[in-house]
């Protein structure tokens, strides 16, 4: 299998540079029609394991964006694909190289590609309306930038809902020198959420009835089981606060696996039984990327300890864990040493309404048991009010957080980084938390200058109205956030909402602080938990940069800012 992969890789590399990659885009469809099994029109069938995500290497790339049908769960619908692949081809690059990426828009609509986590000149960052004008229909845009970093990253469209409909792919940048944790074999694991429904319509439905896709709504059945478990009074007390404040104790995700999403790993459904063959007893590095539009996943490989060695492309001191939560747009590199014939790579979504599983096998055809999903918990007082008593941070609310756009404010948010998060708190396994992540690179420590200024912003929302904002101000009404070039600024985010928000600042690193303000870990996307305050330091990089919640529907609802470093 590895051999054929290599051959294919070499062939694809050749084709992309010599033969022209338009050839490439026809390959999967030829392969599909050769199989001659239904769905002839679909560019990709996610229910089958035969589609191999192309790996493109070198320093020149041609990416073709087009609308093609894909088949997921036996049903076909239109996707936005890059080189006819779901996910898009994995781009393998080398640190220090200057890469040229030609994006050919073959659609009748505008598109864009953002290189998530890569430090590039802002005109190359790929956000229409901020860093460039977008890539108009039927035109080509050439990205060109020097790679100043290494590690696991990804790329996706920053136009409308194209990311939801398939424009996402992995980037692996080999380091110039030696890897900190040299591992002979590594594989990319791209997690994504697929829906056959029109994302615009989903946003509209959420605006009309924000809880329509929540299948954990408090109900009489749950009340009875709570009464059985405790007593009537306790069950009543548990509901009192939520009812009075008109808040939802099970507000884990807006769109769930019950009716909307099918979860994919490397573009495959669980039914595809996709298998990665590896050698028994030999460590393998798995590069996990959460390229979902709206889904936070909890990942584990039952029976195997995972050693986390990097997050968001940055090496961390190795930490051995059983589970990790991966927010949308985060990446984690883990090292595992397979021992059995087969292990299941299991990713359940945060609200346990769905999962995707694939196999890591040391013996061809072997398959391991798929574990049951974990149970849900109700959100707690700490998720609503933060730290009780005087232990929390004293939040400074903006004057714009008092109108209909913010349904709640947290006065004393909690600051701890050791909370595994909702639905992971009551399990016996060892779950990764941010306080266990420590950057190790000396150069990063050297950059930890003392900030000269602090910017506090609050993550706000009105769940029932499906309004998402920062400081109660939706992007359409907001002014840019100004940072001076090379200025070191501490950004403090307070989550006034009951949901987790993976916050991503383009163009510069987010150096996460410990509760006491020390340096914790360097990241590009930081999940802010409900009623939590987090701080991170940034150094102003000249340009205009997007800064937003990476839950696509929150971003589109207004949880977005431009950071103008001028």
């Amino acid at each position: 299998m590895n051999k054929t992969m290599l051959n294919r890789r070499r062939f694809l590399t050749g084709s992309s540079t010599l033969l022209g990659a338009s050839m490439l885009s026809t390959l999967p469809s030829i392969a599909n029609s050769a199989l001659g099994k239904g769905q002839q029109n679909a560019a990709v069938n996610s229910d089958k394991s035969d589609h191999i995500v192309p790996i493109l290497t070198g320093n020149e790339f041609d990416l073709y964006v087009s609308k093609k049908p894909v088949t997921v769960n036996g049903k076909s619908s239109m996707a936005t694909l890059i080189n006819d692949s779901l996910p898009a081809p994995t781009l393998k690059m080398r640190e220090g190289d200057t890469v040229t990426i030609r994006v050919h828009n073959q659609m009748n609509e505008s598109t864009s590609i953002h290189w998530h986590g890569l430090l590039v000149p802002f005109e190359m960052d790929g956000v229409p309306g901020i860093s460039f004008d977008g890539i108009p229909a039927n035109s080509t845009f050439t990205y060109k930038f020097k790679l100043k970093q290494s590690g696991t990253y990804w790329y996706h469209s920053h136009s409308g809902f194209q990311e939801q409909t398939g424009m996402l792919g992995a980037i692996v940048i080999e380091p110039k020198g030696r890897e900190r944790h040299p591992i002979e074999e590594d594989h990319v694991i791209v997690l994504s959420d697929w829906t056959h429904r029109d994302p615009h319509n989903l946003l509209k439905l959420l605006k009309q009835r924000a809880d329509f896709d929540n299948y954990h709504l408090p109900d009489f059945k749950k009340l009875l089981s709570d009464i059985a478990a405790t007593d009537l009074e306790a069950a009543h007390d548990k509901r009192k606060m939520w009812n009075k404040m008109r808040m939802m104790p099970t507000d884990f995700t807006d769109l769930s696996g019950e009716k909307t999403f099918t979860y994919l790993m490397n573009g495959k459904t669980t039914a595809a039984n996709w298998t990665q063959l590896v050698k028994a007893g030999q460590p393998v590095k798995l590069r996990f990327i959460n390229a979902s539009a709206q889904t936070i996943f909890d990942v584990r490989i039952p029976g195997l300890k995972m050693t986390v060695v990097a997050t968001d492309g940055i090496d961390v001191a190795p930490v051995a864990i059983d589970d990790f939560r991966i927010g949308v747009a985060e990446t984690y590199d883990v090292i595992v040493t397979p021992t059995q014939d087969a292990h299941t790579i299991f990713a359940q979504n945060i609200d346990r309404s769905g999962y995707v599983a694939t196999t890591l096998a040391t013996k061809k055809g072997a398959r391991a048991v798929i574990p049951a999903m974990d149970k849900i918990e109700w959100l707690t007082m700490a998720d609503m009010m933060g730290a009780l008593g005087d232990k929390g941070y004293k939040a400074k609310h903006a004057k714009t957080e008092y109108d209909f756009k913010s349904d709640m404010r947290v006065d004393s948010p909690r600051m701890n980084l050791d909370d595994p998060g909702i639905n992971l708190r009551d399990i016996d396994r060892k779950v990764l938390t941010y306080d266990q992540l420590h950057s190790v690179d000396e150069a990063i420590f050297a950059e930890q200058r003392k900030p000269t200024r602090e910017i506090e912003l609050h993550l706000t929302g009105n769940m029932e109205r499906y309004i998402w904002a920062l400081d109660g101000v939706m992007f359409k009404d907001a002014t840019p956030v100004n940072i001076k070039p090379n200025e070191r600024v501490r950004i403090t985010l307070v989550n006034d909402t009951m949901m987790n928000h993976p916050m991503h600042l383009h163009g510069m690193w987010s150096d996460l602080r410990t509760p006491s303000g020390d340096f914790q870990v360097r990241k590009h996307t930081i999940v802010v938990q409900p009623a939590q305050k987090i701080s991170f330091d940034v150094t102003g990089e000249v340009g205009r940069w997007a800064w937003h919640c990476h839950l696509l529907y929150h971003m589109e609802a207004g949880m977005f800012r431009e950071v103008a470093v001028v």
């Binding site: 309306g129 605006k207 606060m241 109108d403 349904d407 109660g472 207004g558 431009e562 103008a564």
Partner: protein, 333 residues
Amino acid sequence: MKISKKNLSFIGLSSLVLLTSSLATAAEMSSMDHSGMDMSGDMSDMDHSGMDMSGMDHSGTDMSGMDHSGTDMSGDMSGMDMSGMDHSSMDMSGMQGGQPPADARSPDYSNGVPYGQYGKPMMMGSMPLWGVSVDDLGYQFDEDQINFEATGWYGTDSNRIRLRTEGSAQTKDDKEIDSLSSLAYWKPLSIFWNGEAGVAYDTENDNAAVMAGIVGTAPYFIETDARAYLYTDGQLRLDLGAEYEWRLDQHWVVIPEVGLTAFSKDDHDNGITKGFNEMETEVRLTYETFSRQLAPYVGVSYETALGKARGQRRQENESVDSSSLTAGVKFWF
């Protein structure tokens, strides 16, 4: 002309509607705030200025045209709060709504820097959207009539135009269709409450009206609406409604609802008496399906005349109250 007088009473009624809802909100705030009710803070949370009722003047409120039971209703709405809840160590006051303190920080970190050469991206959620919700399309068996209630809207999070119609169509005898339809401007007033102001037409008395209302979610997720109509003949109508979703599981929901109608003066031609006139209640068992966008139901409805209307109905040999089985659907898209 009597316009000024009509306006006055309309203003009075609108104020009452606003007050009713404010009381409800205030009451819930008071329950969270152990120190007691903070009316002033709560009222300010409602954005009166935003509503198209600029002429509203509380000092000049003329409620003479209103039956006193109207005031009882506001009491009822505020009574939705279950007092005596004990939050022990928690103090949740001030977590929702309220008014910013004088020293609240600014959300503007721009230092005067404008957007750059590429402008500003347009977020999908800020574009105008639309929605249609048919809250009821059902048959009332004993009355031989089809009931309907539907709302459509177009606009953004902060400004919408909304069209609403409710009524019934007889399936026997005269096949008469009674409907009350309104076209209104819609605006959020506070976290859980929205205001409406517009024009309406009532086919029952063939009369046009101006209308204003407040619709929202009270504590314990009680969906409430209060709408006032001022007809061209000076008649004032107040519709109050409350609905609750008692969720049995993730698909089966029992929905009890109640609606009350009051008028400001007698109108014998149309069988209207001053004061609270009519109460309609219905309990439906619904099954949510197709992503909860469609919910067929069966229910029982009960309708009764209130106050003087009872006497009038007896005089006219009509029944004072009636009940019926109902069945229909609720859907939205």
